[in-house]
Amino acid sequence: MDDLQQTAEQQGSFISRHRFFILVGLTIVAALIMVSVSLVIYNLSGAAELDLSRPGYKEVRDQVIDEEATFENYSAAGQINTTTINEFKDLLDDQAAAAAAVDAFGGDPLGPDSLDYGTTVSTSE
């Protein structure tokens, strides 16, 4: 019984003597866990695929179009008449033209011809 009490006292004194280092250690472990979870979410959510601040995207970073600065808002409040509909129509026509200007993800850059490894790739049925 005395031995048990003595061991408990020793443990208590160990924790109280090293509490600062234990606090630092637990803080580091907690930080590592949170960073790991954040990185998993960053990758799984697809944010990593769109993050142009990564080193490989340096050359195209300045080609990002800032829609906040260039895109004109249409007011949700106000009357509906030929003038206001025409105003909206002009805004929509401009953006529709911008969207239709480029055949996004078109062409066949992943085709064998484009990648220079031949003309015939057969698909087995």
Binding site: S75, Q95, F105, L110, E125
Partner: protein, 179 residues
């Protein structure tokens, strides 16, 4: 208990057979000449793929912002104004709803494409040219799907434009007749 185990085993076997058969259908076979070309041009092919991945990311960011802005800064606001003025906006809200669904599909399909492209880039084409060609083919199919999504979104914008023109025509007619 035995019958439960048998049913479970049957389901597992069916899934395995179906997976194997679909993998066979999607398998791409390349000729020995193509295999040799992939091995020889491995570095330049990888370089082209890396460049494509970079520019596709830029395209995705710009397109995503444009499509999102069209929805939030134009469509939603015009729908709200129609509702505020008690104008029937059913064609507009239906198109906006379809457009939002299309935007979600576009995002998901792009992500799937990018993951396939990353898988292809991770393969050593000098050592595994067939596996590399198969991964490229998978990414190619997904990229076509992304292109289809873009076209679908552009069609929905055109639908919205058509509805706007029809509404404008009705108002012009009404103002012309003095109502």
């Amino acid at each position: 208990m035995k019958s439960f185990v048998r049913v479970f085993a049957l389901i597992v076997a069916s899934v395995v057979v179906l997976s194997a058969s679909s993998a066979t259908v999607n398998a791409v076979q390349i000729t020995p000449e193509q295999e040799q070309r992939i091995k020889t041009n491995c570095v330049s092919i990888k370089s082209s793929l890396t460049q494509l991945a970079t520019f596709d990311t830029l395209l995705r960011v710009n397109r995503g912002q444009l499509y999102e802005s069209i929805a939030t800064k134009l469509m939603d606001r015009f729908n709200a104004r129609l509702a505020f003025n008690r104008v029937n906006g059913d064609p507009f809200t239906t198109t906006t709803s379809d457009y939002r669904a299309g935007l979600t599909t576009f995002r998901a399909d792009y992500l799937a494409y990018k993951q396939d492209l990353s898988t292809a880039l991770a393969i050593d084409c000098a050592k595994n040219p067939t596996e590399f060609a198969q991964a490229i083919d998978a990414a190619r199919t997904k990229r076509t799907k992304v292109n289809d999504d873009v076209k679908a979104l552009d069609r929905l914008i055109t639908n919205y434009q058509t509805s706007t023109n029809e509404l404008l025509g009705r108002y012009q007619q009404a103002e012309g007749t003095g109502r």
